[in-house]
Amino acid sequence: MASRSTAGSALGRYVLVRFLLIIPTVFILVTTVFVLMRATGDPITAALGGKLPPDQLAELIHAAGYDRPVIVQYWEYLTGIFSGDFGTTISDNRPVTEILTTYGTATLELAAYAILVALVLGVPFGMVSGYFRDRLPDAVLRILAILAYATPVFFAGLILKLVFSVWLGWFPVAGRVSTGGEITMQLEGAGSGFMLVDAISTGDPEVVLDVLSHAALPAIALGLLTAGVFLRLVRTNMIGTLGTGYIDAARSRGVKESRLVRKHAWRPALIPIITVAGMQVAMLLVGAVLTETTFEWRGLGFQLAEYLQARDFVAVQGIVVLMAVVVAVTNFLVDVLAALIDPRVRY
């Protein structure tokens, strides 16, 4: 039996190695973004070419340093990123860091709601599906799961909007909060960037419900995709776990079926969820671009679409780098969590 110190050092080594792997991962991602952005020419010409006379354009290009050797630009780009300077947007002259912090909270909030929806829908229904394996509830839930992750997120968003906002009028059409709610929060000086937190800080339950009602449809649209994945995963693991020897042994000792599921089967079934969750972060960020655009949820995905339209590649570059870093760091955290829960993961 491995001693605690041996297990501890294995975990420590595992975490250290995983942490160190972030560096080359991020480096490769950042370099790839740089190369792809430069492949289309300099960002100034892309954004302002045709709008300004050639001499003014040349002046701006020179001032921004895009006429210098690529290797020099690359070095400055790298040192800028690692010192937190992502440059200034071309289209609206704002520090990219400001864009990231202002709108990053909105995307984070939406992702949190989406994960919550995915867990609330995917896990219990996955358990039900696993329990009723090959029977009607299982068949129905499996079909729904496939529909959930096969439906493009923007299409799901549009359908939800059509049915629940336009036809039924149950939910708002777009935005993170109503105009009145936003004015109320501004008057109260709320400005954390997390709309729910700001709403709660006003002490007005109407504002809180207002925020939640605006979040419902985008969260469902974005969360459905992940919910479908979770449902299938939990189902598979439930089936596997319910067929193991220790469950049979517990059953033979007279443990109630409901207790078997609640106490013994569901935890092992959730372990793969944690590892898949890391991969789903990347899917959520991709989905967030379309969801945020559909619902005018002004987060990083929304801004990315806006800056792409404006050909503001400095801003696009900054947002994409941040998203890449978030995915890399999230996967690291997921790996650590998985190692904490399941010792077999460590080495």
Binding site: G180, G181, L209
Partner: protein, 553 residues
Amino acid sequence: MKGTTTMSAIRGSRRLIAGAAGTAALALVLTACGGGSDDGGSGGGGGSAESLVIGTTDKITSLDPAGSYDNGSFAVMNQIYPFLMNTPYGSPDVEPDIAESAEFTSPTEYTVTLKPGLKWANGNDLTSSDVKFTFDRQLAIADENGPSSLLYNLDSVETPDETTVVFKLKSENDQIFPQILSSPVGPIVDEDVFSADAVTPDQEIVDGKAFAGQYSITSYKANELISYEAYDGYQGILGEAKTPKVAAKYFTDASNLKLEVQDGSVDVAFRSLSPTDIEDLRGDDGVKVVDGPGGEIRYITFNFNTQPYGEKQPDADPKKATAVRHAVADLIDREALADQVYKGTYTPLYSFVPEGLTGATEPLKEMYGDGQGGPDADKAKKTLEDAGVETPVELNLQYSNDHYGPSSGDEYALIKDQLEEGGLFTVNLQTTEWVQYSKDRTSDVYPAYQLGWFPDYSDADNYLTPFFLKENFLGNHYVNQDVEDMILEQAVTADEGERAELLGKIQEAEAKDLSTVPYLQGAQVAVTGADVTGTEDTLDASFKFRYAALAKG
């Protein structure tokens, strides 16, 4: 026993299903209770209940007049900054706004006297020093996104006392200068808040409360939400604001704006709903669609070097080239374009100066087509035959697929059909994205191409000077010295009657040359809740949408 286990399992699983379904249902019910139609007065307390909510798809570049030259930014400036000269409701002609008087005191001196006791919302005095500062900084900063080019005729500004401003002009009797003071370069700024040599960030302006228009801004989130409050220190010709509090909400998706004006979350939607959305809204009893004259124009530009029979063509022939342009004017069916493509949000345009402006005439209506504004293929055929032009004429026609809205494709597909009527033209229709389009059109790549124009100020001059002088922004190699002389003359003609006559002659002469063939004039369209009033008052030929004219209930 197995039976007992099965029953227990079934009960357990039923509880499981019920629990999961119940959780989901509860969440949906709770949020739906707080959601649904959220109008401007719901979802919070404070001043929000009194706010009139205006929705728009405009984009703000900067609140600093020196740093922006676009509709979105200027729309905000019209609410918050004072102007020396401005257009009263219902008129395209300017009058003194925060000025008591404004007149030429010598051929090159335009003297403005401010009203006494003017104040900024931050309590600072608004004096001639602010005015001088405003224009000096425009010229000093000369930002590439700014409107300083409109001050082409300004030499210097002097301030003999606290209420007197003397503009020293380079050319004499510039009748356009008063209009320029009402244009995007005209907003007066507070010298204690704005920087003298750099574009001032928006938040600094808002924090400094540098406002003296009908409204001041109480909270600001660029391109998301702006809250306005009526400013009681405004002393201009537009009068007091009808609504004390206004909120302007910015949308990127026009369809969301349409849905929110329908469900009452937005009280007034202005710029820019699609033609199909507007058509749909006209049938909705819950909203009102209000139309007014617009300043935007659409036209086809001919490159005089590369068009059929153009000057640089192997078969160059000015008479045939003119006949080709005339035939195009004979064939264009403006009514069809306005109805089928734009559902009435654009109206037929028969001149280079849009309807509603002083001096506008309609020479193209009588001179071309059936003489009543409609097309006439037989006339076009005769025009070409008389000039010895072989038909069909090969015409390369270019348009931008992204700059003038999503309907450009339909617009030019219909123009192509109209020109090919009777086999007189074979149109090779092409499209290019805007950045490349802008480069190509001034590099003689396109023989004939789409352009649009939105005015800087509500005067016929702004539709003539940029287009038909030798040095013009079209870059199409058109030169007519007589037209040029008349354009320069009208700009310095003080007598209104004489000026109107000159403007008529310019339009007649240009109608013969057809450097451009104008065909559509954009209407201003606002969609409001049924209980909103005052929209008709502000949809006028000033082309400034003033929130202060609007009221609810």
